[in-house]
């Protein structure tokens, strides 16, 4: 777009104007580079800290480059990797299983809600969307899960929260509604059942939207730590995020008595290495899938 206006300005306007425009563009790029770097710097600081030497880090402090390059933090984790591997296993299973169940449940309800002949379309939509207006909040939720469903310290409880998102449901419903009616009519004339139409027409034709919603759900599961904070106290059910949160806390408790073992544990660099190991795969996955996510965001902005 700005390329187009530039050709015009070249034709209609003088050299000083072009110079002004060039200066303007440079200032804009400069500002954007500063903001982009500000967004990335914290990642770099943690990465550098994870490759630092514990004593050098304590003496010279955090910085953009490692203080005395060392991999002791990673060695410490790899020496006893059980807890982080277990957390990886839990988080990955929750993310994969949870996303599959969530996608199934959400598309199952979004499809009928997109059908104009569905008698309960309006009441059912209202039933779903009213929940965005009024929420009972944490206290009843906590009591329901712990005292009535008895799901405390179960694997299943970790999958509950992202299962049905009304915002995602809305996007899916729009995607199904936008498929051409002729397709559905033709299938009906041929005697296809609604299950068949759903599985063989509606779902395959909405793959891009399903992929976007699936990614959003998967990221939400991966990043979830509140569920574990509320309902998990069993270490073997710790998710990755919750394990990180716990290392921050328990490492602090250990720091008060540094002479626990023979060798003092390099607490700080180990912690930072843990952050890198937990965030790294997610950040890389983000780079790979970001264009779908951008689509999801803009879809949400305009419904």
């Amino acid at each position: 777009m700005s390329g187009y206006t530039q050709t015009h300005s070249r034709r209609y306007r003088g050299r000083s104007d072009r110079l002004m425009r060039w200066i303007g563009d440079s200032v804009i790029h400069l500002l954007l580079v500063i903001i982009a770097l500000a967004c990335l710097t914290p990642f770099l600081i943690i990465l550098s800290a994870s490759f630092s030497d514990e004593r050098a880090l304590a003496l010279k402090g955090y910085s953009l480059l490692p203080q005395q390059f060392s991999t002791t933090g990673y060695q410490f984790i790899l020496h006893k990797p059980a807890s982080i591997l277990q957390a990886y296993l839990v988080t990955t299973s929750v993310t994969v299983l949870g996303t599959l169940i969530a996608l199934t449940m959400m598309s199952l309800i979004a499809y009928p809600l997109s059908r104009k002949q569905f008698v309960l379309r309006r009441p059912m939509s209202l039933f779903a969307f009213f929940t965005t207006l009024f929420s009972g909040g944490l206290v009843p939720y906590y009591i329901l899960v712990t005292q009535y469903l008895h799901l405390k310290n179960t694997f299943f409880v970790l999958m509950i929260p992202q299962m049905v998102g009304v915002f995602q449901l809305l996007i899916l419903r729009t995607a199904f509604a936008q498929l051409p009616d002729e397709l559905f009519d033709a299938a009906r004339v041929d005697g296809a059942s609604e299950w068949r139409i759903f599985l063989h027409i509606a779902l395959p034709l909405s793959k891009p939207t399903l992929a976007t919603i699936g990614l959003m759900t998967a990221i939400a599961y991966w990043n979830n730590w509140t569920t574990a904070l509320y309902f998990i106290s069993e270490p073997k059910l710790y998710t990755l995020q919750y394990l990180l949160f716990q290392t921050m806390r328990s490492a602090e408790a250990m720091a008060l008595e540094p002479q626990i073992g023979q060798v003092p544990m390099p607490l700080e660099v180990t912690r930072m290495a843990m952050v890198v190991l937990a965030t790294g795969p997610a950040a890389l996955a983000f780079l790979y899938v970001q264009k779908y996510l951008v689509k999801g965001i803009t879809m949400g902005a305009f419904k």
Partner: protein, 326 residues
């Protein structure tokens, strides 16, 4: 008009049979559709509607052993207790003031960044900008709290190391509440600018390019184009976002306020919000009465605010596109 009616009427049995078959077919399809909605509808009922009813716990002397239906009704006692503590008022005040700060500064910042991006949209480095700006959005608050910790740690954090190097006195950030509104604001902006600017950017990209070409030919500067064309045309989007944000002003982002200040008691005066207060009362203090009273207060006031903002959106949206939620 009359002739075709006669011709149809000549064979009523076929028409009747077809419409009957269609009706039966439609009925069957409706049954299938209803079955499809059951899993999600059941989930919504259990985790959304049952918990909505659950805010009534605020009027009970809730005892876990007796359950919701066995606990004694005590009227407004829990509320009296809640509002007799200054902490509840403080949490409400912090929630509203900090959210207002986030909404206004967040809007200005996102809008500015969106406009900067819009000006260089065709540039090759656009992808780099977008990726870097969006990355923080996909990081959990647990990780963000580590980032902030590395910057603000008392003895060897980046900021204090810098202060020492330029000969200034280091600051004990985690016990100085006065700085935290700004620190929380920066963490919020860092995390949300990618998403926020992307929404406005796509609004700007939706404007007809011819308008900008005409303005350029007429000699309008960048800033004139922004104030006379871009801003008025995306104003509905801005107002919509503002109203929706104001509707949720009584709800704070639990992750931001719990993780980033690391639940440090010394920071509560400026960082404790309703969500963290309710969490602490419920799980750390095990005071279900106080937690449920605060929860009732938050849910009901939140509902009223959402309804008001939704009403305002409906009043203000253009006649051809209703942007309100229902």
């Amino acid at each position: 008009m009359a002739a075709p009616q006669v011709s149809y009427a000549a064979r009523p049995s076929l028409l009747q049979r077809v419409s009957k078959a269609l009706k039966k077919d439609l009925f069957q399809r409706n049954v299938v559709w209803l079955i499809m909605t059951i899993p999600a509808a059941a989930w919504i009922f259990l985790f959304k509607y049952v918990t909505m009813g659950g805010i009534a716990i605020a009027f009970l002397d809730y005892k876990p052993r007796r359950g919701v239906f066995g606990s004694e009704f005590i009227g407004l006692k829990n509320f009296e207790f809640l509002f007799s503590t200054e902490v509840a008022w403080r949490a409400a005040r912090n929630t509203i003031l900090l959210n207002l700060l986030f909404i206004t500064v967040g809007l200005l910042f996102s809008l500015t960044v969106a406009w900067l991006l819009f000006n260089v949209y065709t540039s090759r480095v656009m992808r780099f900008y977008q990726t870097s700006l969006l990355l923080p959005n996909f990081i959990s608050w647990v990780i963000v709290s580590f980032f902030v910790f590395a910057l603000l740690k008392g003895d060897n954090g980046l900021v204090n190391t810098f202060l020492k190097n330029i000969g200034r006195q280091p600051i004990d950030w985690y016990s100085s509440p006065q700085y935290w509104p700004i620190i929380l604001l920066l963490a919020y902006l860092w995390q949300s600018v990618g998403w926020g600017s992307l929404i406005y950017l796509s609004g700007m990209l939706g404007i007809e390019p011819e308008i900008f070409e005409a303005a350029t030919m007429d000699g309008a500067s960048r800033f004139q184009q922004f104030s006379r064309i871009t801003l008025p045309l995306i104003l509905p989007l801005i107002i919509l976002n503002l109203l929706l944000a104001i509707g949720h002003i009584f709800n704070a982002d639990f992750g931001l306020f719990y993780q980033v200040p690391r639940d440090q008691g010394a920071l509560y005066p400026t960082t404790d919000v309703l969500d963290t207060f309710i969490y602490r009362a419920l799980i750390n203090l095990q005071n279900t009465g106080m937690a449920s009273a605060a929860q009732f207060y938050q849910s009901v006031v939140g509902f009223i605010l959402v309804m008001l903002s939704n009403w305002a959106v409906r009043r203000l949206s253009p006649r051809d596109q209703d942007l309100s939620l229902f």
